[in-house]
């Protein structure tokens, strides 16, 4: 038994190879979409909301990777789990945010790299909170519902409140949107590190 066995087993049990491969694949999709003159839209002037779809997919990958197949067994471990959970979430979030931001920066659409990074970080945070509340494998559900709703509701919404609840739709300069995304990630990372995902048998 080598020292690497533990991390390798952890990576396998969480499906990390797939979770690591997915964000670059999503970034490629985004780069392809962003490189088109119409931004991947089917109708000029009506673009695909890639700044929501790509972070949502990346967050779904990261959220489902938080699932523990043998959580009863995990709880009997001698070592504390929170450093592993936190490292897991931070590493995948950094990978996804970087990959998507780079892909957004390469395109011709209005979606900026910083907006993509902000939305990825905030969406992963919201997904981590969902994982603690409803279970890791279903953690994409509340976030998907929220993003779909926010993008429709934000068409006409204005005011300070909208920069908070419609944070994924806000432009780069909206400070409140950055604060909300950061708060979501901090809350999600802290909750997940402390509690871990809710055991689910769905």
């Amino acid at each position: 038994m080598t020292a690497l066995n533990g991390p390798l087993l952890y990576a396998r049990s969480r499906g990390l190879p797939g979770a690591i491969a997915a964000p670059p694949a999503i970034a490629l999709l985004l780069a392809w979409s962003a490189s088109r003159p119409d931004g991947g839209s089917w109708d000029p002037g009506f673009g695909l909301p890639m700044e929501a779809i790509c972070p949502m997919l990346a967050a779904a990958v990261i959220g489902t990777s938080l699932y523990a197949y043998a959580d009863e067994l995990d709880r009997t471990a001698v070592r504390a789990w929170w450093p592993r959970r936190l490292t897991h979430l931070l590493a995948l979030t950094a990978l996804a945010a970087t990959a998507l931001a780079l892909a957004a920066a390469s395109g011709t659409t209005g979606t900026g790299a910083s907006v993509m990074a902000r939305n990825t970080v905030g969406t992963v945070g919201a997904t981590a909170i969902s994982a603690v509340l409803v279970g890791a494998r279903l953690s994409w559900l509340p976030v998907t519902a929220y993003l779909g709703t926010a993008f429709i509701a934000a068409r006409t919404a204005g005011g300070t409140g909208a920069t908070v609840w419609a944070w994924p739709v806000q432009p780069d300069r909206a400070t409140a949107a950055w604060v909300t995304a950061a708060a979501l990630f901090a809350a999600g990372a802290a909750l997940h590190a402390y509690r871990g995902p809710r055991p689910d048998h769905l």
Binding site: I53, L57, L138
Partner: protein, 463 residues
């Protein structure tokens, strides 16, 4: 009697048979179905609350908003939840075990899938009931249409079933969120791709924006929509579970026929709501005030907002006969009232949002049109000042841009001097109009309104 005493045994008491709960009960109360219902209800409630100004008070707008939410938010969500539920046997690796179950594949699939559909539908119907109740106190005409929630429910159930079958067929772990993203893209974008796919947009069962609010679908439109979405779902379910798979061809044929019908007819499936074409008038003032028959409750408020204008025009000749807010076919003798739609701008929850602004816009409808092709009117300073003086006399613009302050702020001294000079000249013209006695002003205004349609500036009376 033999003398043998026989003891009769007490009848054996059968232990009560264990109550067997229907398998659907467990599916209904546990698993992901309740979460899907909660997500649908929360998402819809969030949208309704944040956009309340734009629908609360109008049956049409309320139902249009609910339909948009049902198709674009709950549809992808229910499909993804169905997909997740359909993948359950893959996750539990019980696919082979269930192949030997007593119940057939169709019964098993419906037992597993319908609870998710029921929860999503329950979330939608709860939000629908709440939204209709919230709208009710602010409406003054019309009724909600029952066919709208019915077709929406069929769509939600169909999306769940299609998602379930997709999930049962494909093992991919991320299929459910990918299904949601894909469905969202198709359902949100297809209705907005009119330029490239004008016919295909009608396959998404959401009425074009503001069409549902002001139009009535023909009687067969809900049936065709139901046939299209329900037929596709039934075909998918039968193709996956039926012993005789060819039976899926029947609902598929229904779906394709209904889909072709929807694509061919397009917006012809909607006719204007009769209420939006009739008017209710108050003839007690001059000009008379007419509003659309779907907002009769606003007539007293509009009359109240226009009280000052009507008072100042009392006895003046050459005015339009009526203020009207019909969008089509107005008589040339009518002046257009500001539009009450789209709801949520001029009118919020059955009240005029800004009566002063409304009055100003109504007054502007009496004055010469600035885009009427008569440039001479704009270029003639004398007439232009007279037009502005009459506008200020009838109803000053509450949102008038303060050009003087802006010029001072940017330090444009030349512009400041020019604005001051113009303001002085305008004040002199306005002062003369105000200084007239009532009879003189009435006569002057009558002469003025007689020249509203002319491009000959010499005809405009001096002031």
């Amino acid at each position: 009697m033999s003398g043998v005493r026989t003891e009769s045994r007490p009848p054996a008491v059968e232990p009560p048979a264990p109550r067997r709960a229907h398998p659907a009960r467990g599916e209904l109360l546990r698993g992901s179905a309740p979460w899907a219902g909660a997500a649908a209800l929360t998402g819809l409630a969030f949208l309704l609350v944040t956009e309340a100004d734009s629908w609360q008070g109008s049956w049409g707008e309320t139902q249009a908003m609910l339909q948009l939410a049902a198709i674009v938010i709950i549809g992808p969500l229910a499909g993804a939840a169905g997909c997740w539920q359909g993948q359950r046997e893959h996750r539990r690796r019980t696919h082979d075990l269930l192949a030997g179950a007593v119940r057939g594949p169709l019964a098993r699939l419906l037992t597993a899938a319908l609870p998710t559909a029921l929860w999503a539908t329950a979330g939608y119907l709860t939000a629908t009931a709440a939204a209709l109740l919230a709208t009710w106190p602010y409406t003054s005409a019309g009724t909600p249409r029952l066919t709208v929630p019915l077709t929406d429910v069929v769509f939600i159930v169909s999306m769940t079933l299609i998602g379930h079958v997709t999930g049962a067929l494909v093992r991919w772990r991320l299929l459910a969120p990918a299904f949601a993203a894909g469905a969202y893209v198709v359902l949100w974008l297809l209705p907005n791709t009119a330029r490239e796919t004008p016919a295909a947009r009608h396959l998404v069962p959401v009425a074009p924006e503001h069409l549902l609010a002001e139009s009535v679908p023909v009687w067969w439109q809900p049936l065709a929509t139901t046939g299209w979405t329900g037929g596709l779902a039934a075909a998918a379910v039968l193709a996956y579970t039926a012993r005789r798979r060819w039976t899926a061809l029947l609902p598929l044929a229904v779906a394709l026929t209904a889909g072709a019908l929807l694509m061919q007819n397009g917006e012809r499936m909607y006719r204007p709501d009769p209420l939006t074409q009739r008017q209710i008038c108050d003839e007690s003032v001059r000009p008379a005030i007419c509003v659309r028959a779907d907002y009769p409750g606003l007539l007293p408020q509009i009359k109240n907002a226009l009280t000052d204008i009507n008072a100042r025009l009392e006895g003046v000749e050459n005015l339009p006969a009526r203020f009207t807010d019909l969008d089509w076919g107005p008589k040339s003798a009518d002046a257009h009232l500001p539009s009450l739609t789209p709801y949520g701008q001029s009118v919020v929850r059955g009240r005029l949002a800004d009566p002063e602004r409304y009055a100003w816009e109504a007054a502007m409808a009496l004055l010469p049109s600035m885009d009427g092709g008569c440039d001479a009117r704009l270029e003639d300073n004398r007439v232009s000042r007279i037009d502005t003086a009459v506008e200020e006399w009838l109803a000053p613009d509450p949102w008038e841009f303060d050009e003087l302050s802006h010029a001072r702020a940017v330090g444009d001294t030349e512009r400041v001097a020019s604005i001051k000079a113009e303001q002085k000249a305008l004040d002199a013209v306005s002062g003369r109009l105000r200084a007239m006695d009532q009879g003189e002003r009435r006569q002057w205004l009558s002469d003025y309104f007689a020249t509203v349609g002319t491009c000959d500036m010499d005809e405009v009376p001096a002031l």
